[in-house]
């Protein structure tokens, strides 16, 4: 069982900054995120895009903001459970919570802060008849273990970075890699596009464009697919079909935790962003209240206020006043200390 003072669901900018504000109050945090890396949308969707409305940063790339936040919080030694989705929550007799992920990892904390953005990112499934029955039987939306595809025939569908990157990677593992895309142009990093071009010329990747997968075939598992290219149907035998059409955020299991929901978001009290369940807070894009703005800077503010209430719940009756980091410095959980340099007091003769 992983223990923390605050269990943060969502490792986007708001979740990461919560670690800092909690750390100032000597509260230890652990983050859970369905994505394999921290940063949320900033690292998954637009790491190379500039953000212009982070106070003090005239311009910062979303990926760099994530890096900076990780640097800012490292002294508070947050724990991470990445690549797992928070699935269930159980309230304990002492009003603490146990949150279990889809992989069965259990986490225990007196406070839960949901900073899930627009939800957990789930693969967008193509609109193909009977695709559900082949899931796990040759149809995979996420590649978890590349070795699984060794010496197998693989068809990848999609035209973005992940389709290109996995086609490149699997070309060294699978016996046969076919990449299918609706148009001739691919959208990805230049070196990925060039690499796929090179592998095509070497005969290691078979590219079929412009084409679209229209049917799946197989008795107990995928055995073949049909595609349409230039109005002609082509039958391709394969062991795996991997559609990579990006990710779409869904509120998912959190929507069934008994929290008040409005507009696909969690209703909170603006005093401290607590939900209708005491001890569970919702901060950042995932919450809803009159006048709500889905901005990173608003998430930072909400995280800061939320931590003050979390402290009072965890330490009832304990006195505390807000301190300024410039005055008090920062004591890291890792033994480090940051503080402003002292002025010199010395007579000048």
């Amino acid at each position: 069982m992983i223990e923390a003072d605050i269990l943060i669901i969502g490792a986007g900018p708001t979740g990461l900054f919560t670690v800092f504000e909690a750390g100032l109050l000597k509260l230890k945090c652990h983050l859970i995120d369905a994505l394999p890396q921290p940063g949320g949308q900033c690292s998954e969707i637009y790491p190379k895009k500039p953000i212009y409305d982070i106070p003090g940063f005239p311009e910062v790339l979303a990926g760099d903001l994530t890096k900076n936040l990780l640097e800012q919080i490292k002294q508070f030694e947050p724990g991470f459970t990445l690549g797992e989705r928070a699935e269930t929550i159980e309230k304990q007799d002492d009003d603490s919570f146990i949150v279990t992920t889809n992989k069965g990892t259990k986490h225990h904390a007196p406070i839960v802060a949901i900073a899930g953005g627009l939800g957990s990112f789930e693969p967008r499934k193509p609109l193909l008849e009977n695709i559900d029955i082949y899931e796990g039987k040759g149809v995979e939306y996420i590649i978890k273990e590349p070795e699984f595809y060794r010496d197998k025939r693989v068809v990848i569908s999609g035209g973005g970075d992940s389709a290109l990157d996995w086609a490149i990677f699997l070309s060294n593992i699978a016996s046969d890699v076919t990449l299918i895309h609706r148009r001739n142009e691919f959208r990805g990093a230049l070196d990925s596009v060039e690499k796929v071009q090179e592998l095509k010329l070497l005969g290691k990747i078979n590219i079929i464009t412009p084409a679209e997968v229209t049917k799946l075939h197989g008795a107990d598992k995928i055995e073949a697919i049909s595609i349409i290219k230039n109005s002609e149907e082509i039958y391709i035998e394969t062991d795996h079909f991997i559609p990579l059409f990006g990710l779409s955020p869904k509120l998912g299991p959190i929507g069934k935790w008994g929290l008040d929901i409005e507009k696909n978001a969690i209703k909170v009290d603006t005093f401290d962003y607590q939900t209708n369940i005491p001890g569970i807070f919702a901060i950042g894009d995932v919450n809803s209240y009159p006048g709500k703005l889905k901005l990173i800077l608003c998430g930072f503010h909400e995280a800061t206020l939320m931590c003050q209430s979390a402290f009072k719940i965890i330490n009832p009756g304990k006195k505390y006043v807000l301190k300024y980091t410039t005055v008090s410095g920062i004591n890291g959980f890792d033994g480090t200390r940051k503080e402003a340099p002292k002025a010199v007091v010395k007579a000048i003769n």
Partner: protein, 109 residues
Amino acid sequence: MIDITIKITNREGVQHEVTAPTDMAMNLMEVVRSYELAEEGTIGVCGGMAMCASCQCYIKSEHQLIEINDDEQAMLSEAFYVKKNSRLGCQIPITEQLHGLEIELAPES
């Protein structure tokens, strides 16, 4: 003219006639959101970067729209329910030329 009129058919098939300002640097996706014609969290998910296709719509009138760019074209090529008249609302700025525009929101995907 400051405001223009646009007819928007939502995902339930109900048509709404709305007015949209041309002086607020808005795009079509933002107009839909401002009138709450699609459930929050199901449109403009990426914020308007042509990176999610949640604002896909079908253009039902003959208006001359801003030309489709590479990013929009690439995103539409990965989207679902795409038709010949599909566009991403986030890539269409609100201008006086769009007065009387008629659109229909594509299904959520």
